[in-house]
Symmetry: D2
Subunit: 348 residues, 4 copies
């Protein structure tokens, strides 16, 4: 990809992760951006397309070391690194005044103590830059467009989080009275990353299905609760249950909402909220969201059903964890930050 | 398979369904049973193994017409037919005094009006034999062993139903106070049967995941509620949400239980209840049930987690929809009815 | 999608097939084309997006009947109909001077008798327009660009055929001496279409793998042999063995070539031949083509290995059956016919 | 499983591999065998069922270290260890006069130099016990029953090898004139073992298909050629191309045979050869072998088609790589060695 003076020059840290490769593909076909560099600790010096043969002829750039990357010029840097490593490497880049979009969890939680509780360990005992947490904007595009437009640090939301917040936030903001919420979420295996683990070894994940980290123990829970609480103006807790689904991509969340409002009322509120948002599609109860409708796109599909007769209202949402749940939304954030059309490079 | 005088002579109606084929395979390697006949409306006159090449050399019997089957001698007849057709064809067989195990829904609901509401239509406006509903025993082996032993008609429970009742029934029987229950269930595609539909066409089910019939609309709901209500001694309603999982076999149910009891207390009660039951395995919260642990077996794995701090207790259960959820449990019922060892032919 | 005066107005017959839906998606994001109509016999009057929810917000056009479609104006018409039906419906459109691209087999074979042998039956005893066979151009873009540019009827090649011809044709054209060829091809299930069949029912295709129509009996064989013979200047026959692969998309062909040339020589010839072709990527033997590298793209990846010591040279090729194997190549043909950049709308 | 005095006491080395777990499951339901010990280097001291939750209640034995295992009494020891490690650990066991069945490659090749060429490296520069190679019997049950019955060391054949040899060996033994053979084989991912690799990480193997080690470079080639040459009485070389198939279990080989004999003649010869063999099923060309017909069984299905008009005869074979391709055949070998019924414990 050749650079062009008036294009946004973009750097991608951690380009050999799944979210990194997806982001690079999107950027290569984005008319307003050009890739300044791609970097990787493990594959430094190799061509990105030697790691992902699918990118041959699309992005054959050589992978810089993180150190080289940090010293290279760019208008916008995306980090697809793991948490802790991400904040650490982004700090000098932020200091140079470069806008950053962090796909890791490092800037999502506004409270450094909550961050510590869920993400720190002996090796990384504390957040690398707690003073920046206030400055970071939570990059859920449809809810924070104005703040994103003026931001210099974007905390790109988690994939599960996006699938749970998009249907719920308008209800809390719209004053719907909600007693409790249970989000039963199912994610494709790419959500677990490219690192090798026994439970994502093909013969163990294929033809299998399992729950994990259930019972208020998954790291995405505080992120969901932070945003719901802010919208509700009071502390909100939820029950969040992730499951591992034997597909490559996609998250479907089945969300049980105890409320006196009807499913139709919820759908109305949410539909109105997203009326100007291209990437949220509200569906009828007779046409529930499904993963195959959204994979490889930046859409999040949402429907409401159930309710009445003492039954909870049920929201169903679906998105592609690597696109609207990660790299697509990150690019959407870049579009907003740089004043481009929000959908640029995201329709396909 | 050669018949033997002192073996139970078994007839299988609807042998070309998935549950039929699974049942035949199990019967062929059951030392106490011999197949008297297999039948099929659509494939009459053909060898069963021409429909299921996997059964070549195992059961090459010619498929009788349902009429021929009804006139053939047997000690026990299994029906793997669809509802309505099943009751109709079983009636004369029951009249001849032959014990029957019905895998369809026809004898599961004790109230003919409830049956009518969920299963009847213009073509089948009413239950074919409402007078027999009282006589039929609900074949959830671990809960009704004594009644099954003396029964002549067994209503084999639905697959989803078994996965939801096995963890819940001991709690209701044990007096645990439960405010509400939400069962979020995920089933492999064989649960939808062998008939062709667009949503089970490979390119549409594969790499997909979807909810269906949610919001109190699935036929298995009244069956679950009937049994829970009987155990509780009061009307119990639940929220039941089925999903289509892109695997061949297996059901995993994530069941949210609002109760003041802890997960450990629930696990204790359930563990005690099933202490003499070979096919229910209680697992630790650190070792949650998963589909791959139970496929091709008659096990149902159960664990309890969550609870505390206002969170619901979460039960996770897993079973093979074609074995413990259908044909395996049917065979288990036969073993009990005929005084054989309950595990006969079911360990593999 | 709004039409625009200087855009190519495109009609799509058979838009509810898999190739139809893929084509519509590609067209919607093609800056030089606008959809004039979509049609479907079975779903007439419905929105295309009600059949393919993934297309919601992308193409919500109402499906015309084939008759309405035939009477509607367009600059270019694609037919995604089955053979026989396709030629029949295209005839009046061709007569009106509209350029057509036929994705069916109807215009691929130049000899009406060969067509009859492989495609006709009692219902369709002969080709509908044998006089047009000579006029039709075989739309294998990389080999017939000049003729395509001036064509009014394009016979878009079969998916298997493209995967076999792209590696082989340059060898025959380049004078490589080839004694025999065996193509062992494996295709994802979408290649079998959207119609329901027992062998593509999820529980029967999933976790399965099978050969079909092997031993010179598959309809794609004469199409392959016609083109190889033309390139060789003598009659060429091959052994072609298709297999059903449990993935949604993609074809991988392993092609055994008995020749005295080495794998490296073959690779050189083929690499030179495709040096100006964006969509053919020649890979090293250490980096063999695989399906995951090409799905959702218009690329065909090719490598050569083996040979020496009496061993055949082995070509491996991979493409997406719905893109380079069908709708992508069809669009590439349109680009060439209408003087657009060959890659327009095909990079993603 | 309780031990019983007159049962064969069996030890399993490498019990935490996929072949080990499959073997243990089979042994647990084998009426003539009892497990004396299971061992594992990596999981020493843990329960086997903690590694494979599916085995809970079936085999909860504690895993011995390889050293403890070697010192424990047994009548028959199976090794599911990797090559090199296997021979090394089996040596002292063989010295104690215990019969061994080795599922690794260590005793398959009769020529220590050929073994060295394909299996040795700096760490293991030579075979640990070349003097025993002559003593080992190649455990392809249907071909070497007599020798197996008297053997003390069995080299259990490779999975690919079994799928290629079973259709071919009777032809060579029967004097069919064969000019050349190409075996295009496709294996499920469990064939690559339980060790983690990038290409068997779920998101990379799923929805993918690829060739590997093609062009006479796969380790199973010399094993196939050794047995074919022995049968032919002259050196035979073949072309063998393995592929990675996105299913858990199963191998399907499409084998191209250049011969003047017809497919029907080949089928006849092979059918006669296996007439007394329960686990080989010869199928009609209209009913080709497929993976779903053989998974979880010890069957190998074979059919012949093609031929005539200059076309090669095509053999298609299918088996389960973990059963007939490994642990099932190993158990079949044990049955033969100890004078049990050959099918004992293998029908399910």
């Amino acid at each position: 990809m050749e650079a062009c003076k008036d294009k946004i020059r973009v750097g991608v840290l951690g380009a050999t992760s799944y979210t990194g490769a997806e982001l690079v593909r999107l950027l290569c076909f984005h008319s307003g951006a050009s890739i300044s560099y791609v970097s990787s600790q493990s594959y430094e010096g190799k061509a990105l397309s030697s790691v992902f043969p699918a990118l041959s002829g699309i992005c054959d750039d050589t992978l810089l070391s993180p150190q080289e990357a940090a010293a290279t010029d760019a208008d916008c840097v995306f980090s697809c690194l793991p948490h802790a490593a991400s904040a650490e490497l982004l700090l000098p880049i932020i200091d140079r005044g470069i806008k950053v979009i962090d796909l890791s969890a490092d800037f999502r939680l506004r409270d450094a103590n909550v961050y510590k509780e869920w993400y720190c360990d002996d090796k990384h005992p504390a957040h690398a830059a707690p003073h920046l947490l206030e400055k970071a904007v939570f990059g859920l595009c449809e809810h924070y467009r104005d703040r994103i437009a003026g931001a210099s640090i974007i905390a790109n939301p988690g994939c599960y989080v996006t699938s749970v917040l998009l249907p719920l936030l308008p209800l809390y903001k719209g004053g719907v009275k909600i007693e409790w919420v249970i989000a039963d979420s199912k994610s494709g295996v790419s959500g677990a990353g490219r690192g090798l683990k026994q439970n994502t070894h093909f013969p163990e994940a294929n033809e299998n299905f399992s729950a994990y980290s259930i019972g208020h123990k998954h790291r995405h829970t505080p992120e969901i609760e932070q945003e719901l609480s802010a919208a509700a103006g009071r502390p909100v807790t939820i029950t969040f249950s992730p499951h591992l689904l034997p597909v490559n991509r996609g998250i479907l969340s089945t969300i049980y909402i105890r409320t006196d409002s009807s499913a139709a009322e919820c759908a109305d509120i949410v539909k109105k909220f997203y009326s100007g948002s291209d990437f949220v599609r509200i569906r009828e109860p007779s046409d529930l969201p499904q993963i195959s409708s959204v994979v490889h796109t930046n859409y999040c599909d949402i429907a409401f059903t159930g309710g009445g007769g003492g039954q909870p209202v049920i929201a169903v949402s679906a998105l592609d964890n690597l696109v609207k749940g990660a790299s697509g939304q990150a690019l959407q954030n870049m579009n907003i930050m740089f004043g481009l059309k929000e959908t640029a490079g995201l329709l396909r």
